[in-house]
């Protein structure tokens, strides 16, 4: 439909995202009408079937929420349960968990930067097509990704759904030599990440800045992974235990998807941009310098630039992994014993896509009574729609195909993980999109 009638930006199957969703934006003349990021991925009810399972199974079960960021689920689960049980982990285990998370960040960020997002900037349908013209770039990306996976494999046994993370520590811990064997690869990865920052900084970015509330963990002397206060640029400063007092999920009519908002304010943004803007001072010198040289200074308010910020976080993750390896002394035992006891515990950790909240209530047999999980994508969902409402207004005069691709690129800037979000978003399961 053309002329003064309504036009529609419509993507029935969003590509290069994890999980299944669709996009629907109605343009009425020069005005943006309805904007819907629809999720039709079927629900899987994790919170329900975690009940009655033993706490020791939670890291294995919740990992299955997401094949892309299973470590994030394992980390939020073990920290929440350790808090419920009053378990204190060995500092060496803490260090290994940081290293483990570095592996996932390297793997996940590389996947997103090069294989899911870069093709949009360069006008390719996918990374395979991109590889025909940019073979060396793609080969470098694959090697970088593989190095992230190597860390995960060593500490966790395998890349997807690793098996070694446990409440209290790990089932098995690596030797110093095994970690030292990663150093050469990681030194190469650090260089490759610095090149990634320069490469992504040279891409073309649409002029699109928004006034976001950024929400991320903040730690007194680290770029936060597993610990810290939850803060925002609008004065939020809370412990994980207070999360549910400050964030609420609102029902929206169009998609029947609950949108997470900061109580009394509205949508917010989690993920690389939020972390970078709130914790720039905690980045190691090498990452800060790479960012500044690439023209990035906080606050970065253009979501399209998140690809550069992800690259800066790659630099951080490689540098941090090297630091962890150099500091590592094996703990006395792979894990401390975790007793069965009644308790409630919450934890927030920084998944590659942003904060991931878990809460567990346990009974005296160590069985889970209730579980609550809020993944990053369900938190970003409302923000994505708010963005699209503004961004589509810039595109109303564009041919519909180009406008559609641009909107997809905007959504992919969030690296949405719909598989994660679905188990918690309130969804209508439907495959047919609405007709305009």
């Amino acid at each position: 439909m053309t002329g003064r009638g309504a036009r529609t930006i419509r993507v029935d199957t969003l590509a290069r995202v994890e999980g299944e969703g669709s996009l629907y934006i109605k343009l009425v003349g020069e005005r943006v009408g309805e904007v819907q990021l629809r999720i039709y991925e079927p629900p899987r009810f994790f919170e329900a079937f975690l009940r009655g399972r033993h706490f020791s199974e939670a890291p294995d079960i919740t990992a299955r929420i997401c094949g892309i960021c299973p470590i994030a689920y394992q980390m939020s689960a073990v920290h929440a349960i350790e808090r419920a049980l009053g378990v204190r982990i060995d500092p060496a285990v803490r260090l290994l968990r940081r290293l483990f998370y570095c592996g996932e960040w390297i793997e996940s960020h590389t996947l997103h930067v090069y294989m899911l997002h870069a093709p949009d900037f360069l006008g390719y349908q996918d990374v395979i097509a991109m590889a025909r013209d940019h073979r060396a770039v793609v080969e470098k990306a694959l090697r970088l990704k593989k190095i992230g996976n190597r860390i995960v494999q060593l500490l966790g046994g395998r890349e997807i759904h690793p098996i070694s993370a446990a409440v209290g520590g790990f089932y098995k811990i690596p030797t110093k030599q095994q970690l030292r064997d990663l150093v050469d690869d990681l030194e190469w990865a650090l260089e490759a990440s610095l090149e990634t920052v320069r490469w992504t900084a040279g891409l073309q970015f649409p002029n699109f800045e928004q006034d976001y509330e950024f929400v991320a963990l903040r730690h007194s002397d680290e770029y936060a992974f597993n610990e810290g206060r939850l803060v925002s640029n609008r004065g939020l400063d809370i412990d994980a235990a207070e999360y549910e007092d400050h964030f609420v999920e609102l029902q929206v009519k169009h998609s029947n998807a609950l949108h997470s908002v900061v109580r009394g304010r509205g949508s917010y943004l989690v993920g690389p941009l939020a972390r970078f803007n709130l914790n720039f001072d905690k980045l190691p010198e090498v990452a800060r310098k790479a960012a500044v040289d690439a023209g990035l200074r906080p606050p970065v308010k253009n979501i399209f630039r998140s690809i550069v910020v992800r690259a800066v976080e790659l630099v951080f993750a490689c540098a941090e992994a090297l630091r962890a390896i150099h500091e590592y002394e094996p703990p006395a035992a792979p894990r401390v014993e975790a007793p069965n006891r009644i308790g409630v515990g919450q934890a927030i950790t920084e998944a590659p896509r942003g904060i991931l909240y878990h809460r567990y209530a346990l009974d005296d047999n160590g069985l889970i009574v209730t579980a609550k999980i809020v993944p990053p994508t369900s938190q970003n969902q409302k923000r994505i729609e708010d963005d699209l409402r503004e961004y589509a207004a810039q595109l109303v005069v564009w041919p519909i195909e180009e406008a559609t691709w641009k909107c997809e690129q905007e959504v992919r800037s969030y690296d949405p993980c719909i598989s994660c979000a679905t188990h918690f978003l309130r969804v209508v399961v439907e495959r047919e999109d609405v007709k305009d």
């Binding site: 969003l14 590509a15 290069r16 995202v17 994890e18 999980g19 299944e20 039709y40 079927p42 629900p43 899987r44 009810f45 994790f46 919170e47 329900a48 079937f49 009940r51 399972r53 199974e57 294995d60 299955r64 929420i65 997401c66 094949g67 299973p70 996947l111 294989m115 349908q125 996918d126 395979i128 097509a129 590889a131 793609v138 694959l142 990704k145 593989k146 996976n149 046994g157 395998r158 890349e159 997807i160 759904h161 098996i163 070694s164 089932y171 098995k172 029947n256 609950l258 792979p334 691709w405 997809e408 598989s419 188990h423 918690f424 309130r426 969804v427 209508v428 399961v429 439907e430 495959r431």
Partner: protein, 262 residues
């Protein structure tokens, strides 16, 4: 498209209820990805490309279980479009972790997770693909082993049968010269009844196998249940052990239900 020399097989990757991990295995095959992409035509793979070509496809890789009415219809269409249909992973092959709903009141599950239950449309059961359409080959695992996936694709291109073993995890443990953690340390381990494929990962990391690859050919679950009891496991613990990522595979299902009856 029958000329063997020129025609690259067209591959489609289809997702149902799942975590995306099994299809990610293809992108995780960093050393093989570009080679595979050169040898086949990746015609439909939304996780990796926005170019989506219509069927028919020579090979359909199906991830995920059937949990909604719409998906039960969609798998019929996918089957019609695929000359050969392969399930990848525990969800597609056995119903996945979400099959835990199959022993519960799913309406109650919906009320636990969702504020407005009336908006949720879901089936009572999470079921494997083979319960809906004929399946030509199964790759086990939660997640699948990427090398088995590459082996499958390579074998198909070469026109031979893929070399995917159906013996138990115990054989892999022996090959790795692991000391048996069940015998030596009394750790409950599903290895004796679980199909190989992971490389005996969990026993190699000092923990019992939890059955990612589902039941091996002719597993003796009754004997293993007995062994678990000797190790001091209660019936509800044994039932939970069988009720994991392959809970709805009939041999594991039967074993867990027998524990509940005693």
């Amino acid at each position: 498209m029958s000329s063997k020399s020129k025609h690259k097989p067209r591959i489609g990757v289809f997702k149902f209820a799942s975590c995306d991990g099994c299809q990610l295995s293809l992108l995780d095959a960093e050393d093989e990805l570009l080679g595979v992409a050169g040898a086949v035509d990746i015609a439909y793979f939304p996780e990796a490309t926005r170019a989506m070509s219509k069927g028919p496809y020579d090979i359909g890789l199906v991830e995920g279980s059937i949990t909604t009415y719409q998906d039960a219809q969609r798998i019929q269409e996918v089957r019609r479009q695929c000359k050969s249909l392969i399930t990848i992973g525990a969800c597609a092959t056995a119903g996945g972790i979400q099959a835990l709903r199959n022993w519960k009141d799913v309406d109650e599950f919906i009320r636990v997770v969702y504020a407005t239950p009336q908006f949720i449309s879901t089936l009572k059961l999470s079921t494997p693909i083979a319960q809906h359409v004929p399946v030509d080959f199964e790759l086990r695992g939660c997640p699948i082993n990427k090398y088995q996936l590459i082996e499958f694709i390579t074998a198909t291109l070469a026109g031979r049968k893929p070399n995917v073993p159906s013996y138990s995890v115990c054989i892999e443990c022996k090959r790795r010269a692991n000391v048996c953690i069940a015998v030596a340390r009394g750790v409950p381990c599903l290895g004796p009844v679980t199909q190989a494929g992971c490389g005996a990962l969990c026993p190699s990391y000092d923990r019992g196998c939890y059955g990612c690859y589902g039941p091996m050919e002719t597993p003796n679950t009754a004997s293993l249940t007995n062994q678990f009891r000797i190790l001091g496991q209660t019936d509800s613990q044994v039932a939970r052990a069988f009720r994991g990522f392959n809970a709805w595979a009939w041999q594991f299902r039967k074993a867990s239900e027998e524990c509940e009856r005693t």
